[in-house]
Amino acid sequence: MFRFIINVIEQGSLYAILSIGVMISYRIVGIADLSVDGTYPLGAVVSAVVILAGGSPWLALVASLIAGALAGCVTGLFHVKLKISSLLSGILVMTGLYSINLMIAGGRSNLSLLNETTLFDTTWLSMFENTTFFPFIETMIIPFYRLIVMVLMVLIIKWLVDWLLNTKLGYLLKVTGDNESLVVALGHDVGKVKIIALALANGLVALSGGVAASVGRYYDISLGTGMVVMGLSSVMLGTLLLRKTRVKLTTMVIVGSIVYRLIVAVAIRMGMDPQYMKLITVVIFVIAIVLNNASFSFSINKKGEPHA
């Protein structure tokens, strides 16, 4: 039971990073970005290749972030400069990334990291071996190291995104989602803002993929399956559950991601046939959208909710 909760939080944190990315593109700027199904495995493969080449797993994460941001730029350029609809741009980038991911892995569709050093390597903690607080590290930190790293990572990312959304750029992102013509009136280029948003969103998604490579200790070309819908569902679920509270959007998304994982974990545990899993995801999603729409349209009239 204890392990079950830890696992749900770990998995929830992993997908919370992805969901924060999806939140930026979908919830804030208002673009349903389908390239996520490709940028998530892109992040995983970039991290895996860097780790296999002997690079530090943290360096690998940075590489994943950059690769994802570049892919997001491509989606943005397709949409803004080539005037391809945002849905189609996402699909095109996702499809293209399938080949690119294979190329990055050197033609392989599965890379094993079982014998490599990952983000959750605890050997460096042994340098405290002779200090007085080592027993504490040994019993309280090492067994939960993965959980601690994951939670810290999510909190740092949450804090950075919160900070970013309060800068001038952040306001531009929000305004782009609410009212594009206002951005033009303010003398800014809507296209540029959209490209930045997609780069940021996909950077985070790829970062999440990079973390996933360390958690699962392998990369597989199929890792991205269903990630867009999962991310969107987490965003929806979080905003639905916490819509009456005054917490930040990022907090809602993190809670949504963990609750979503919990639902999936319980479904698996109760022995539900996974054939129905995707259908249930869609049902959760639609219910969340319907309830959200109802409550937000209500609250707009009352309070002028900014994220509606």
Binding site: N7, V8, R108, N115, Y218, L262, M277
Partner: protein
């Protein structure tokens, strides 16, 4: 917020109900990556194998499908750990990799099935002496045997055409092996890579024009489209051989195939060695199967105007 806690509480209560402890039996967690006839056979093979070893009463199987998603697989493994399984039986490469990474600091033995190259997958140090706590059965098709069959069946074949999905690791591995082996049989290889089912028609047309026989390897994409490949090839009088028997009746001329059910039974034997005899998995070599079943189709041979050599008829089951 209050609603959230209520939901959580209900969920935890449900979880509590789902995990009633039963002792004295050995618990085996079976994680299957996806639903697929071959992978299903790998599971039923284990069940039947345990039954014929007289272990049905001794073990309790918890069978879970990951539906091809890594996150589900992680959850399943953590549930197995929670329930204190004595052994994990992992079907397909990503399932086995998740099982290993999810139980890293634990001593749970793992037996895998439907993994082609366990060394490349990082599961074992070597096939002969796996070390560690992981062993299993490899679904490596007996490629040498199958190439020999093509030459024996139709001695005039000089080029064998093979279609494969470049996105499947197992397929790339098989292509490399075929390249190494085919010269020993006095034939040459023509490969055509594809990235998805929609390319199969065009790729097969091209392949058929350049080869004397088609050989369908253990590749999920191509195997699923076997009827299409056969249709195009047989129009041009090109025979099709196949590594698996699942689609044999779609017009395959001959197949000398492995059985995932049989591999499951081999795995059941390993499970017995580990749980009952107390042998460490690291000391049980990874097994491949040499038991194959040769199937030959008389009607397809007649249609293509090929005489089945007596040497093959003697040992094959003719359909």
């Amino acid at each position: 917020m209050k609603k959230l806690f209520t939901v959580m509480l209900i969920i935890f209560m449900l979880v509590g109900c789902g995990t009633e402890e039963t002792t004295t039996k050995f618990k085996i967690g079976v994680i299957q990556w996806a639903e697929h006839p071959a992978l299903d056979d790998a599971h039923t093979g284990l069940v039947d194998g345990l039954e014929s070893l007289g272990l049905t009463e001794e073990v309790e199987l918890i069978h879970k499908l990951a539906n091809g998603e890594a996150s589900n697989a992680n959850m399943i493994i953590s549930q197995f750990v929670d329930e204190g399984v004595d052994l994990i039986y992992a079907i397909a490469t990503p399932a086995a990799q998740t099982a290993v990474s999810g139980t890293q600091d634990l001593e749970i033995p793992i037996v895998f099935n439907a993994v082609t190259d366990a060394v490349v997958a990082g599961l074992v140090v070597s096939n002969e002496a796996p070390g560690g706590r992981v062993t299993g059965v490899s679904d490596m098709a007996p490629i040498d045997k199958q190439l020999a069959l093509i030459k024996e069946f139709i001695p005039s074949v000089s080029t064998v055409g093979v279609l494969y999905n470049t996105g499947e690791d197992n397929s790339v591995h098989q292509i490399n092996l075929i390249e190494d082996l085919i010269r020993n049989h006095g034939m040459s290889l023509h490969v055509q890579g594809i990235s998805g089912p929609q390319e199969i028609a065009l790729a097969t047309e091209d392949l058929v024009s350049k080869s004397d026989a088609i050989y369908i390897i253990t590749d999920n994409t191509v195997a699923d489209a076997a009827p299409q490949v056969v249709g195009i090839a047989n129009e041009q009088n090109i025979p099709v051989f196949m590594a698996e028997a699942g689609q044999f009746d779609q017009g395959i001329l001959a197949s000398d195939s492995i059985s995932y059910h049989g591999l499951g039974e081999q795995a059941a034997n390993m499970v017995k060695q580990i749980l009952i005899d107390g042998i460490s998995p690291g000391e049980i070599p990874v097994e491949i199967t040499d038991k194959t079943e040769l199937l030959v189709s008389q009607s397809v041979a007649d249609r293509l105007g090929i005489d089945i050599p007596d040497s093959i008829l003697e040992r094959a089951s003719v359909r």
